[in-house]
């Protein structure tokens, strides 16, 4: 990474004694900023080294999954008592609808989780549920942007990119930030969701696909024989070496030579990391690789674990593709929550639970942060005519739930509350900026210190906001 902005990283490089070496490491994005952005208070520590996020696109109904509202039953079939017409996306405010799945207390902690996620529910004692999330937008695309970058338009770096910028790489042979989109397509806003924004391009989320070429351009677009490939690279290296001899000490030129070596290493490390068939059968079965409903997500979750194991900082798994179209390819259950959520949950419940279990049995949950998020929740009233209890629910930015697990968290707990029917947050609202600040904090990063100069402002993931949710930290 090379740029001459007044940012702390180039400051570090230029202030260093061994300029060339430091700069080279920095150009290639290997150098970590960790020392510079550690919270000043030494009592705070680095709790997590890596993150895996399962991002549910479309809007998971908190009322049917993680936010137990026993009182909603009383209101079932009644009108929402309010003097103001609730602002919803489609403006079809039906009668209040109770949860479609039964809630039960789970594990020792007794957390209420519904039968929508029977396997994840078994992990209750490892989970931390935030039931008081709020967002600034109830439109999918801006809401996804806010979830990922803290801003409602494109052009801002995503959380994974900030973490890449802040912590650098632990394994130079794999990208720092990897994205595993839903097999049915990319979510609204596509690449903007894992964009590096104005951060240098090496912090961009890199997509891994299934198939022979997990990483784009890993192999030549036109097949070349091995011999030719090797001879071409040798020739390139020879030309570059003789060219470099005219520029002793030029770190940028040296970095590009090195980038080809690293590219060659990727050709070995990527197939190695992505060959999940090397996993023992009982592990494959744990994730549900061999069952048709769970297979796709299972492969992603298992791949995520392998990537995290190999030093990847941030893996983002998407559950849900583009919003539009029929049948729905996301959690956007406007028509029928029961039908839609059943189908979607079946795909991910076992694999996600398996990921948590697997991380735990390997001791990795101690320093891995698992995030299970959605861009907003759904309304307690049905999306239907004002006199019926329709089967679908509209978008709700005023209250929804996200789930976290792993490093640094108080597990088996909940934080915040929504009102008795789950329409708006009642206590401890958590904005995405707060969520982001907390994630960075768990990674040992002070969100106010992780900045990058752009067009006159030292930009932050948390803009000028962000309160760490200390109550969920262990």
């Amino acid at each position: 990474m090379y740029h001459s902005f007044n940012n702390r990283r180039s400051f570090l490089c230029n202030g260093s004694q061994s300029i060339a070496i430091t700069a080279l490491a920095s150009i290639l994005g290997q150098k970590s900023l960790a020392n510079d952005i550690k919270p000043k208070d030494n009592s705070k520590k680095i709790r997590a080294k890596r993150v895996v996020q399962i991002s549910l696109v479309g809007g998971l109904s908190h009322l049917d999954s993680f936010d137990y509202k026993p009182e909603i039953e009383k209101f079932h079939g009644k009108k929402l008592l309010t003097d103001k017409v609730p602002d919803t996306f489609f403006n079809q405010v039906g009668l209040i609808r109770k949860n479609d799945w039964e809630f039960k207390q789970r594990g020792k902690s007794g957390l209420y989780i519904s039968d929508l996620f029977p396997n994840i529910a078994k992990c209750a004692d490892d989970l931390t549920i935030i039931r008081s999330m709020v967002s600034d937008s109830a439109n999918h695309t801006p809401a996804l942007f806010i979830e990922n970058s803290g801003f409602n338009s494109n052009g801002f770096p995503s959380m994974g990119s900030w973490i890449s910028y802040g912590l650098g790489s632990e394994n130079a042979n794999l990208p720092v930030f990897i994205v595993l989109p839903d097999g049915r397509g990319e979510p609204n806003g596509c690449a903007s969701n894992w964009s590096n924004g104005f951060l240098p391009a090496n912090h961009q989320g890199v997509i891994f696909q299934s198939g022979n070429q997990p990483l784009k351009n890993l192999y030549p677009a036109i097949t070349r024989n091995i011999d030719e490939e090797k001879d071409s690279l040798d020739f390139l290296n020879q030309l570059n070496a003789s060219h470099l001899s005219g520029f002793p000490g030029d770190t940028n030129l040296a970095a590009r030579i090195k980038s080809h070596e690293m590219a060659a290493k990727l050709q070995l490390s990527v197939p190695e990391a992505t060959t999940i068939s090397n996993e023992p059968m009982h592990i494959q079965n744990l994730y549900g690789i061999n069952q048709p409903e769970t297979s796709v997500c299972a492969q992603k979750c298992l791949l995520a674990r392998r990537l995290l194991e190999r030093g990847v900082r941030f893996v983002q798994i998407y559950s849900g593709g583009p919003i539009a179209g029929r049948p729905r390819a996301s959690w956007d259950a406007h028509e029928n929550v029961k039908e839609n959520h059943s189908t979607e949950a079946l795909k991910i419940d076992q694999p996600v639970a398996a990921l948590i279990l697997d991380l735990k049995q390997r001791g990795m949950l101690e320093d891995t942060l698992v995030l299970f998020t959605t861009e907003f929740g759904r309304t307690p009233f049905a999306q239907s005519s004002s006199t019926t209890i329709g089967t679908g629910r509209d978008h709700n930015k005023y209250a929804f739930s996200v789930v976290m697990a792993g490093a640094g968290l108080k597990s088996g707990t909940t934080y915040g509350e929504s009102d008795p029917i789950g329409w708006k947050v009642a206590t401890n609202p958590v904005a995405w900026h707060d969520f982001h600040a907390t994630v960075l904090h768990i990674l040992g990063i002070d969100h106010e210190q992780l900045t990058f100069y752009h067009n006159g402002i030292q930009r932050r993931l948390t803009n000028v906001h962000g309160n760490i949710i200390h109550n969920i930290l262990a």
């Binding site: 990474m1 090379y2 740029h3 001459s4 902005f5 007044n6 230029n14 300029i19 150009i27 994005g29 602002d87 996306f89 439109n139 999918h140 695309t141 801006p142 338009s153 494109n154 052009g155 609204n188 806003g189 596509c190 690449a191 903007s192 104005f198 951060l199 240098p200 391009a201 090496n202 990483l215 784009k216 351009n217 890993l218 677009a221 036109i222 011999d227 030719e228 001879d231 071409s232 020739f235 003789s242 005219g246 520029f247 002793p248 030029d250 030129l253 590009r256 980038s259 080809h260 690293m262 590219a263 290493k265 583009p322 919003i323 539009a324 179209g325 100069y453 067009n455 006159g456 402002i457």
Partner: protein, 992 residues
């Protein structure tokens, strides 16, 4: 009185200012610097306002700041004693002691309220900030011994180097220089002939000539428009949720290219973009220029909530204020939307004044006045026709001297006509019958497009593989669907024909029954076949491949059809002027066919090229120069230049005509602008009227503007204020940008931020010197370029020196030309130019290298993973939606234009290496090298071919060591790996 005399201010590295001060001044400075951020303004912390003595006495929630009878009693004293303030970092002992002394000596304030913006402190810029002060006239530093002619700017640079005990580098060698200046100015490397010409030119102004040629080249505007579009956040989709494309926004891009190429004075360039509709109301271009105002993102999904709508509008205003402030003034005015600027002397009120200046601007489609365009177009076309006649006149002189050319025998045609002589087939004895108004004259076979056709007698043999050839001039370019030469069965059910403008206007096509063998060649639209004869040929190969040629060169690209048609003997004819039977109006051609031939085989490219050269409409440059005198040659050159200019004008005009609307600013009645507390739409305050940003050295004419002024009035005032000579920021900012793009770093390293958070100029005197010269030149960007590029500083070599690297690693003081990686688009353009067929088509709607999918109102843009001729135009014509996946270009830091990118980052990553090493772009280009260089295959030896590749890609011959390695590689694997490797070298990708 707090403002110190300017000459006493000196720059320190930490931006502190030091000036002559009384003890009271020092006390004020300590207060401004440490206290007033919280303890002043409408809601001071703890109710305590320290900006006046009166308020200090009055005190706040915890009692008076000082007691009236005893200044050493009160909060001020307590706080100082207990070292409590500022909370995070209390005053040091020296400053605290000074303030205590000040209290003792009477706590004197200046007579007026202290202005937090008055002076620069260690935490923020005041109104005395360097960039806000008037331009300074500094004499040139003393001369420096140097053999090279120095430009004024060299004196400043060399002086700076001397102070740091750095030495300038040697002059770069000529090959490096020409490569550097080409890539810098037009984004593509020079062709080998251009390098050789420069190497051979021993005249003292050889480099100057190259520079002038590049500045005169239309590609200059194409390359530098990209820079400008980066700065002004120009994107071709709305962004946000829907991200709909803006099909008519390219007019602005074209306008920028043209303005730069014509060296439009920079003040006019800016005025047109802000208020062209008022200041240049007679020019239809002003509407295009105002595309600037709406080049940013636009939220089209607002929902039903009024606050949300207002919020979106305010966001849009911030985008616009931000763009105006940063682009032209280097000021981040936008940072004052929710509170006074934290670092620069810009109040929140200033921000809303700027909003008021612009609040009448809305996004939308604006019609382009059609009458003006039509008139202009007619004028252009008339002049073009005159010029063509004049050109023909001159070329005839040479033709006459040359005499008749001998026809080489390539292949015997099966039929051959020269209609200027007669209607006899001199090869196959087919007879020809003229029908309708078709007639033979000295010009050829004249066809009126209404009922004229000529048909031959039946072919004597089956015709399968074939070549159709004709020389034709058309009556007009507006006609559609006529055939020039056709092979068809007598009923017309089966046919192959050279057809004009049937599916794509003004383009050639291989017509066939039910388009069975028809695809688009993706060639260029015609712009001269109505003015002079054009040679056309289409070949139909055994394998079904169909290739078209225009004036001896491949037209667009060849394609594979489903297979060859067989025209049976005795039942097939050759026809002229008709696409196929029957002769209905849209099958007929209006024009004159001079000559025609039919071959029973598909001729190759070389044959066609020979046919063209012997077609009597062709005359080689060599033949011309040897048969014309100097005067004629010069005249001809001048005419040709004018034609080229008219053609680009004409094209732009026709595009305007076809596209009757342009995405631009709509001027509306400005609603009242409210001061928004904390920037919240839910907390509107009092009304704010149009006004300027208080640059202390320059007030401008805002005083004259009325609170209820119309939108154009407001923008006119703003534009004139921004571009006023007395506004010190205006010239400084653009001069620094131009410097930045030439050297890779600006004198100020944050080109869009000349405020406290930006960096300081390394050479403030030089920046002012250049700014003044720039104003004196009448704001000529080209003169500015010239003075920079012809400097000794620019022409230094790029080799590093260990000693200099130690002192100035980033080369901020210009002890060398610092090598830098090419930007994404230059990499793309250079690769296409050197390995492919560069499509020179200028202007008009862009090309898209995206798979664009629209799904339920939202548009998605993903890279098209292929590469062909239609995509090989200059990158400035790439469709540039926001938030798109740009594939290869992303990896080379091509910015997402969702926000301005005044300075691009330059990263090096393994993902980038993979994309350029393995991706389809490089792979396809490497494979097509030999095909795209017509002289390549004819070279005798492998070594010559290797030299050819090195010369084109790197503008040099291989070293001996490289030669042997290249030879080994090529002998084993062919040329593709050689080209692929060289494209990936540091040398190819780096501007040295």
């Amino acid at each position: 009185m707090l403002k110190p005399p300017l000459f006493l201010i000196i720059f320190l590295s930490t931006s502190m200012v030091v000036f002559a001060q009384s003890p009271d001044d020092v006390a004020m400075k300590i207060i401004v610097e440490n206290c007033l951020d919280c303890h002043s303004g409408a809601k001071p912390k703890g109710g305590l306002d320290l900006s006046t003595r009166e308020n200090l006495l009055k005190g706040g929630d915890n009692g008076p700041g000082i007691e009236i009878n005893n200044f050493l009693k009160g909060q001020m004293k307590d706080v100082l004693d207990e070292s409590r303030m500022p909370p995070k970092k209390p005053l040091d002992t020296i400053n605290a002691a000074h303030l205590k002394n000040w209290l003792t000596s009477g706590a004197k304030y200046p007579t007026t309220k202290i202005d937090i913006f008055s002076t620069t402190t260690s935490k923020r810029a005041g109104k005395d900030w360097w960039s806000l002060r008037p331009l300074q006239q500094t004499p040139l530093p003393s001369a420096i011994n140097n053999t090279h002619t120095l430009q004024p700017l060299d004196y400043f640079i060399f002086d700076g180097l001397k102070k740091l005990e750095l030495k300038p580098s040697e002059l770069a060698d000529r090959r490096t220089l020409i490569r550097r200046v080409y890539l810098d100015f037009i984004g593509i490397p020079p062709a080998p002939e251009e390098v050789n010409k420069f190497l051979a030119d021993k005249s003292p102004d050889a480099f100057g000539k190259v520079v002038d040629r590049l500045l005169a080249s239309p590609s200059y505007g194409e390359k530098w428009a990209r820079h400008w579009l980066d700065i002004v956040r120009y994107g071709e989709s709305d962004g946000f949720e829907r991200n709909a494309p803006r099909p008519n926004s390219w007019h602005y891009r074209d306008w920028v290219i043209k303005a730069l190429n014509s060296d439009m004075p920079y003040d006019q360039f800016v005025q047109m973009q802000i208020a062209g509709d008022r200041i240049f109301s007679e020019s239809s271009d002003s509407i295009l220029a105002m595309g600037f105002l709406v080049a940013g993102i636009h939220n089209t999904v607002l929902g039903s909530n009024a606050d949300a709508k207002e919020q979106a509008r305010q966001d849009e205003m911030e985008d616009l204020v931000s763009s105006i402030g940063q682009t032209f003034l280097g000021l981040t005015i936008n940072c004052a939307r929710c509170h006074d600027h934290k670092f620069d002397p810009i109040s929140q009120h200033d921000y809303y004044q700027m909003v008021a200046n612009l609040s009448g601007v809305r996004q939308g489609e604006r019609p382009i006045p059609n009458i003006i365009i039509t008139k202009q177009l007619t004028k252009t076309n008339e002049r073009k026709a005159e010029l063509y006649k004049a050109l023909e006149g001159i070329e005839k002189i040479a033709l006459a001297k040359l005499g008749a050319k001998a026809n080489s025998i390539i292949s015997k045609p099966i039929a051959q006509w020269d209609f200027r002589k007669d209607n006899k087939d001199s090869q196959g004895n087919l007879t020809l019958k003229l029908e309708g108004n078709a007639k033979l004259t000295a010009k050829g076979l004249e066809l009126d497009g209404k009922n004229s056709v000529a048909r031959s007698s039946a072919l004597k043999n089956d015709l399968k593989e074939k070549t159709l050839e004709a020389v034709v001039i058309l009556s007009n370019l507006d006609q559609k669907g006529g055939g020039v030469i056709t092979v068809e069965t007598t009923n017309g059910n089966l046919f192959d024909s050279i057809v004009f403008a049937e599916q794509e206007s003004a383009k050639w096509m291989a017509g066939s029954n039910f388009y069975q063998r028809t695809q688009s060649f993706k060639g260029m639209p015609e712009n001269e076949v109505h003015l002079k004869p054009v040679h056309l040929a289409i070949t139909y190969s055994q394998d079904g491949k169909i290739t078209a040629y225009r004036n001896g060169k491949i037209y667009g690209s060849a394609y594979q059809s489903k297979g060859l048609a067989v025209f049976p003997a005795n039942n097939s004819i050759i026809a002229f002027g008709i696409r196929h039977e029957p002769p209905s109006a849209n099958h007929l051609l209006a024009g004159t066919i001079l000559k025609a031939r039919v071959f029973d085989k598909a001729l190759n490219a070389k044959d066609i090229s020979t046919l063209f050269e012997e077609s009597e409409i062709f005359i080689s440059e060599n033949d011309l120069t040897t048969n014309l005198n100097n005067e004629q040659i010069t005249l001809r050159k001048k005419i040709k230049e004018e034609i080229a200019n008219l053609e680009s004008d004409g094209k732009l005009l026709s595009n305007k005509k076809d596209n009757a609307t342009v995405y631009s600013a709509i001027s509306t009645n400005p609603p009242p602008t409210k001061f928004l507390n904390r920037g919240q739409v839910t907390e509107p305050g009092s009304e704010v009227f149009p006004g300027n940003i208080p640059v202390p050295s320059f007030k401008g004419n805002f005083t004259k503007i009325l609170p209820n002024a119309s939108d154009p009035d407001r923008r006119e005032t703003l534009a004139k204020w921004i571009t006023n000579q007395a506004n010190p920021l205006f010239a400084r900012v653009i001069v620094n940008r131009i410097w930045h793009y030439h050297f890779g770093n600006g004198l100020v390293d944050t080109p869009s931020d000349f405020g406290f958070n930006g960096s300081k100029p390394t050479h403030p005197e030089l920046l002012d010197y250049l700014s003044k010269s720039f104003i004196d030149s009448g704001y000529s960007l080209k003169q500015l370029h010239r003075s920079i590029v012809l400097s000794r500083t620019y022409q230094q070599e790029s080799k590093p020196s260990a000693d200099s690297l130690k002192k100035d690693f980033d080369n901020r003081y210009l002890w060398r030309w610092a090598p830098r990686r090419l930007d994404a688009e230059s990499i793309r353009d250079s690769s296409i130019k050197t390995c492919g067929t560069f499509n020179q088509e200028m202007y008009g709607p862009g090309f898209s290298d995206y798979k664009t999918e629209s799904n339920n109102g939202t548009t998605y843009y993903n890279p098209l993973e292929k590469f062909d001729f239609s995509l090989s135009r200059h990158s400035i014509y790439r469709f540039t939606p926001r938030g798109a996946n740009q594939g290869l270009l992303d990896s080379f830091d091509c910015p997402d234009n969702s926000s301005a990118a005044p300075k691009r980052s330059k990263t090096t990553t393994p993902i980038q290496a993979l994309a350029f090493w393995n991706g389809p772009f490089t792979q396809n280009l490497s494979e097509s090298y030999s095909k795209n260089h017509s002289d390549f295959e004819a070279l005798n030896s492998t070594i010559q071919k290797i030299n050819h590749v090195f010369n084109h890609l790197l503008q040099r011959l291989p070293l001996d060591s490289e030669k042997s390695k290249a030879l080994a590689l090529v002998e084993k694997h062919g040329f593709t790996p050689l080209i692929r490797a060289i494209l990936n070298t540091n040398e190819f990708l780096t501007l040295e």
